[in-house]
C-alpha cells in the first residue's frame, strides 16, 4: 500500500514540476521581415488581429501552435491571454468578417518550416527547437 502511495506521490510531483517547466518561447520570423526586434505591444496587436504590420512597416502574417506548453507560455507572457480567450477573440473577428484565421500548426518543427518558407510569416517556438533558415526577433 505504502509503495503505491509513494508511486502516486512521485507521479503527482512529476506532473506538477512538468507544468512548471518554462518552455522559454521565442519569436521567429521569415528573413524577409526587416525588423530585428519587436515591442510587446506590436506583437500583441499582430497576434490578436489588430494590426498586420510592425512599426517599421514590415507586413507580417502570424502563425500559431495548436496547443501545448510553448503555446500557453507565449500567450501568457506576450499576449496576456489564455488559449481559450485568445481563440475566442479570433473567432469574433473571423465570424464577423474582420479577419482571416491565422494558420494553426501541430508542431514547432512545422512552425519553423512554415515561417522559413512564407514571406512575412511570424511565429513562436521554444528556444531549444532547431530553427535554421529563420530569424529570431528579440522582444522589447
Amino acid at each position: 500500500m505504502k509503495r503505491y502511495l509513494f508511486a502516486l506521490l512521485v507521479v503527482i510531483g512529476f506532473l506538477i514540476l512538468a507544468g512548471q517547466v518554462q518552455a522559454q518561447a521565442i519569436v521567429i520570423a521569415n528573413p524577409t521581415v526587416k525588423a530585428s526586434d519587436v515591442s510587446k505591444s506590436d506583437l500583441r496587436d499582430v497576434f490578436t488581429g489588430a494590426a498586420s504590420s510592425l512599426k517599421d512597416g514590415s507586413h507580417v502574417t502570424p502563425v500559431l501552435l495548436k496547443s501545448g506548453p510553448v503555446n500557453d507560455e507565449f500567450l501568457a507572457a506576450f499576449i496576456g491571454k489564455n488559449d481559450t480567450s485568445f481563440r475566442a477573440g479570433w473567432r469574433s473577428l473571423v465570424f464577423s468578417g474582420q479577419a482571416s484565421m491565422p494558420k494553426s500548426l501541430d508542431s514547432e518543427a512545422a512552425v519553423v518550416e512554415y515561417v522559413a518558407h512564407n514571406s512575412g510569416a511570424i511565429g513562436y517556438i521554444s528556444k531549444s527547437t532547431p530553427h535554421e533558415g529563420i530569424k529570431v526577433l528579440s522582444v522589447r
Partner: protein, 413 residues
C-alpha cells in the same frame, strides 16, 4: 417528444463538431478558408413565454443557429469573403438562410482601411459579434442592449466603412470606424412579428443608415472605453388588415410606415485583468415613426445598460454574471392609445439578474448553463416595441416576473 428532438439536435451538433474542422482549398494560387459554427439552445421559464418560444411548460428547443463563411486573402492588405447565416428562434428566423456579410476589405495603412459590401455594423462592444456565441461567456448577451429577438435591427448595412487605428504613444491608441449604407432589417425579426398583432404584415424593410464608433485603448493595460452613434431612416412596407387595430373592412391594403427620427447612442467600457473581464455599456435608443400609412405618430425611447463580469477559472470552465436594466417610454397618437405608465410598472421595464457557467468540454465544443431572474416584462397587454415578451405567445396575459433557465451548446470550426 420535444425532449427527443432536443436530444437528437444535441447529438447531431456533438457529432458534427467532432467531424468538422476548418477547411482550406486553393483558387489559383490563393487559399480559401472555410469556417463555420452552430448552436442549439433550450429555454425553460417558470412563467410567461419568452423570445417567441413556448418556454413555460417543459421548455423549448426552438433556438438554433448556424453560419458558414469563406474568406480569401488576395493580397497582404486585401481580403474578400462572405458568410451565410440561418436561425430559428421560436417564431423568428424560420429557417430562411441569408447573406450575413459579404465584403472586400482593403487596409492601406494601420490608420486607414476600407470595407465595402454587406458589412457588420460596429455599435458598442458586441453588436457586430453578437452571433459569435462561442466567443462570449453568456448564453444570452445582456438583453437590454443586445436583444436576440431584434438581432438584425442594427446588425449590418449594405455600404462602406472607413476604419483604422492611431497610436498615441503614452496615451494608448484610438480606433475608429465610420460607415454609411442601407440598413436591411429582416422581415422575420421581432418587430415585424410584433406588428402582426395590429394586422400589419411587413414584407420589406430598408433605409439609409450612418454612424461611427471611436474606442480608446487607454494606457492602463486592459482598459478600453468607447462611444458609438448610429442614425437611420427606415421605411417599412407591407400589407395591413384595417379591421384588426384601426377599424375598417376585413381586407388587406398596402401599408407603410416611415421613421422621422431614429438613433442609437452608446457608451461603453471593458476591463481585462488576467482571467477577469468586466464590461459595462449604456445605450439610449430613440425612435419617432409615422405609422399606419401616415395616420399616427409613435415615439419610443429606451434606456438600456448593464455591468457584467466573467472569470475564466481554467481552459474548460468560466463563470459570469450580469445585471441588465431596460426601461422604455412611449407616446402613441392613435385613438384609444395612451402614454406609458410610470417606470415602476412591470410593463415599462425588465431588470434581469443573470448567472452563467460555461464549460469548454472539447476543443471546439462548449455548453453554457444560465439562470435569468427577471423583474418586469416591458410589454403588458399592448407592447409598443419588442422586448422579448410577445402577446401572440402569451394570450393568457403576462405575469410581472419571470425566471428562466437557458442551456446553450455550440461548436465552431
Amino acid at each position: 417528444m420535444l425532449n427527443k428532438h432536443i436530444a437528437s439536435a444535441m447529438l447531431a451538433i456533438a457529432t458534427l463538431s467532432i467531424g468538422l474542422h476548418a477547411q482550406e482549398f486553393k483558387v489559383g494560387s490563393e487559399t480559401v478558408q472555410v469556417h463555420g459554427f452552430g448552436t442549439q439552445g433550450f429555454v425553460h421559464t417558470n412563467d410567461n413565454n419568452w423570445l417567441t418560444m413556448e418556454t413555460s411548460n417543459i421548455g423549448s428547443g426552438a433556438f438554433t443557429d448556424a453560419g458558414v463563411n469563406m474568406t480569401m486573402q488576395i493580397r497582404p492588405n486585401l481580403r474578400i469573403g462572405g458568410q451565410v447565416y440561418d436561425r430559428k428562434l421560436g417564431q423568428l428566423g424560420d429557417w430562411h438562410p441569408g447573406l450575413d456579410w459579404a465584403l472586400a476589405d482593403y487596409r492601406i495603412r494601420p490608420w486607414l482601411g476600407f470595407r465595402g459590401g454587406k458589412v457588420k455594423t460596429v455599435l458598442g462592444l458586441y453588436n457586430d459579434t453578437q452571433d459569435v456565441d462561442s466567443a462570449h461567456t453568456f448564453a444570452l448577451l445582456p438583453q437590454s442592449v443586445y436583444p436576440i429577438d431584434m438581432r438584425d435591427a442594427t446588425l449590418s448595412h449594405l455600404g462602406g466603412d472607413v476604419y483604422g487605428t492611431i497610436k498615441a504613444r503614452k496615451y494608448g491608441k484610438f480606433s475608429y470606424t465610420g460607415y454609411v449604407g442601407d440598413q436591411l432589417p429582416s422581415v422575420r425579426g421581432g418587430y415585424p412579428y410584433l406588428l402582426q398583432i395590429h394586422g400589419v404584415y411587413i414584407d420589406k424593410s430598408q433605409g439609409l443608415t450612418y454612424g461611427g464608433d471611436v474606442r480608446w485603448q487607454t494606457p492602463l493595460k486592459g482598459l478600453l472605453t468607447g462611444v458609438s452613434y448610429e442614425e437611420s431612416q427606415v421605411r417599412n412596407t407591407g400589407q395591413l388588415n384595417p379591421s384588426v387595430a384601426v377599424g375598417g373592412p376585413d381586407i388587406m391594403v398596402p401599408y407603410w410606415e416611415q421613421s422621422r427620427s431614429q438613433f442609437t447612442k452608446t457608451i461603453y467600457g471593458t476591463y481585462t485583468y488576467k482571467n477577469l473581464q468586466i464590461d459595462s455599456e449604456y445605450r439610449y435608443f430613440w425612435r419617432h415613426f409615422t405609422i399606419f400609412n401616415g395616420q399616427f405618430q409613435a415615439i419610443v425611447g429606451t434606456h438600456a445598460w448593464y455591468p457584467s463580469a466573467a472569470y475564466r477559472v481554467n481552459n474548460w470552465f468560466e463563470v459570469g454574471g450580469y445585471y441588465s436594466h431596460f426601461d422604455e417610454g412611449w407616446i402613441i397618437t392613435a385613438p384609444g392609445q395612451f402614454e406609458a405608465p410610470s417606470e415602476s410598472d412591470p410593463s415599462r421595464h425588465i431588470y434581469d439578474k443573470v448567472i452563467t457557467a460555461r464549460f469548454d468540454v472539447y476543443t471546439h465544443w462548449y455548453v453554457k448553463v444560465e439562470g435569468h431572474f427577471m423583474d418586469g416584462n416591458a410589454a403588458g397587454t399592448n407592447p409598443q416595441y419588442p422586448d422579448g415578451f410577445y402577446p401572440q405567445v402569451n394570450p393568457q396575459g403576462l405575469s410581472p416576473d419571470t425566471n428562466a433557465l437557458v442551456v446553450r451548446a455550440g461548436f465552431s470550426f
